[in-house]
Symmetry: C2
Subunit: 311 residues, 2 copies
């Protein structure tokens, strides 16, 4: 393997692409360029000591505030992006011409913005992922999908599994799978080059190339991660109320949470501690302020073992 390294290697450009997330007013937002049409991306430049350092460097240059958390999402070959396995193989297209390495970064919304950049709610791109208030959106999408399925059993099973029944179970982590199903059904405009796009695509803002797909990957990753790692706190101010914490989680999950049980959930994890202070001035009873206990990062491995070990 290593022996034939010199045989026709691909020498390609490398691009770093960021999904920078903040939650403001119960809205999960991503930093975009080109009026919300694209995710910010920058090339790997000379002087970057590592990939992550390169990403941090130009995100901070751009937003003028530090990002607290960065995590690699996925690496694509340019050509393979956006549903490569579905498209017909075209041997003439040859090797990939570029590599894109995508990242999830967490921060808080910056006050100052460059004219070309803006924060957008991620539910502008994936309105069906927000179940917090029920409009008839999902019912309509289900209808369109069922029409596309045209009684094929396997398609109907996937629709049921991903988009649930009327009041049935909903797995909020399957963001990418749902997007891909809509793509396959020709219900998103991006599918235009490879599939027949329906006359009336599903609501939701289109993005450049596969940027919406990358965003879906980021949402899915974050929705999964908040359950077993204390990453929400990267999105919150130093002090916060339990309701603010809950609303941030709800914003990410796209679902309402049960308040009393949510508080016990947080309490039981021992992730936060009271600061001794409380809010005042707003409607209702003042809320105690909490802070994240940073010590938990060293204390525990944060993994529910789940396997029935011996002794």
């Amino acid at each position: 393997m290593r022996e034939n390294r010199t045989m026709g290697n691909a020498v390609v450009e490398t691009e770093l692409i960021a999904v920078l997330v903040a939650v403001t007013d119960g809205d999960p937002r991503v930093l975009t360029i080109e009026s919300g049409y694209a995710l910010p991306s920058g090339p790997l430049e000379p002087g970057h000591r590592s990939l992550q350092a390169g990403l941090r460097a130009w995100v901070e240059r751009q937003t003028h505030h530090p990002i607290f958390y960065v995590e690699q999402l996925y690496t694509f070959a340019d050509q393979a992006r956006a549903g490569a396995d579905q498209q017909a193989a075209d041997p003439q297209r040859g090797v990939a011409r570029g590599i894109s390495i995508s990242y999830l970064a967490l921060s808080r919304e910056a006050a100052a913005e460059y004219p070309s950049t803006s924060w957008r709610s991620w539910y502008h791109y994936f309105p069906w992922e927000d179940l917090r208030e029920n409009n008839g959106l999902l019912a309509g999408i289900r209808q369109q999908l069922i029409a596309w399925a045209s009684h094929e059993e396997s398609r109907l099973a996937r629709i049921a599994g991903l988009f649930g029944a009327e009041g049935g179970p909903w797995n909020e982590e399957l963001v990418l799978q749902r997007y891909e199903l809509l793509w396959e059904a020709g219900l998103v405009p991006e599918a235009t080059r490879y599939a027949l796009v329906a006359a009336t695509p599903v609501p939701g803002k289109e993005m450049l190339h596969d940027h919406r797909r990358i965003l879906a990957t980021a949402i899915a990753r974050l929705r999964a991660k908040i359950k077993y790692r204390p990453v929400v706190f990267e999105l919150l101010p130093h002090e916060f109320t339990l309701l603010e914490l809950q609303q941030t989680m709800e914003a990410l999950a796209g679902q309402g949470l049960h308040k009393p049980n949510f508080r016990r959930f947080i309490e039981q994890q021992e992730l936060v501690e009271e600061t001794g202070r409380a809010t005042s001035g707003q409607a209702g009873r003042p809320a105690k302020l909490f802070r994240f206990r940073p010590s938990v990062l060293e204390e525990r491995g944060f993994t529910g073992s789940k396997l029935p070990l011996v002794r």
Copy 2:
């Protein structure tokens, strides 16, 4: 961001690197080259339609049997590999000269091997990760680490959290963190270029460059994944007994599992079904043979919700 794309882009080589895992006789093995010193890696070549297709292509060319499961692990810049954040910044080294994209692949051990390649137990590289039989290995490592810590509280806390106390809790997923701690403590030979290596490194076979680090990443990922996705079955024959399933899981987790509870664990997940047949000829009562229920792949999203939803 996109505007300055043309300014000094890095044009680099791209290498695909594979951790190909099989479990044989209760031993988790990885495919290696150069007498176990390196992981197989190949360049991204013209004609590869996607990164994953490229990886599959040359792994199958090499091993002559199909790989059933592939998953991307992580992408590194060559320069940033093996503890980049610890090493002193050297601005003269400039841009990364190569990108390595690592993958985890699951298969079963092939009968025929090329002379240069061999399957090795991953516990040759990480003997401290196998808790199935207790030799005094861990106690010795703890001693060496504590000596290195020289009463620094933060170091002692990390040691306790990662390597546990004598009979204390052990999180089998923290493979990478444990390796990195040993690296930082100079107890692995690979650290030689950046840190003082102790006179007596810890047991465990060294590898080329950061290959052992990539292997640690793969083990950690697999240990985490078997708990919530049905990937073990990629490592088993079509039909298997529950003990074989258990022993495969134990091999991966590096820990013994409680038999009666393990069976209920499997049963409760409804992942397998009886084939109606049974083993015979070996010691003890014949065991029923089971097969994986492939339908579960579409049925469920496989994510324990964990969040206290409303309604």
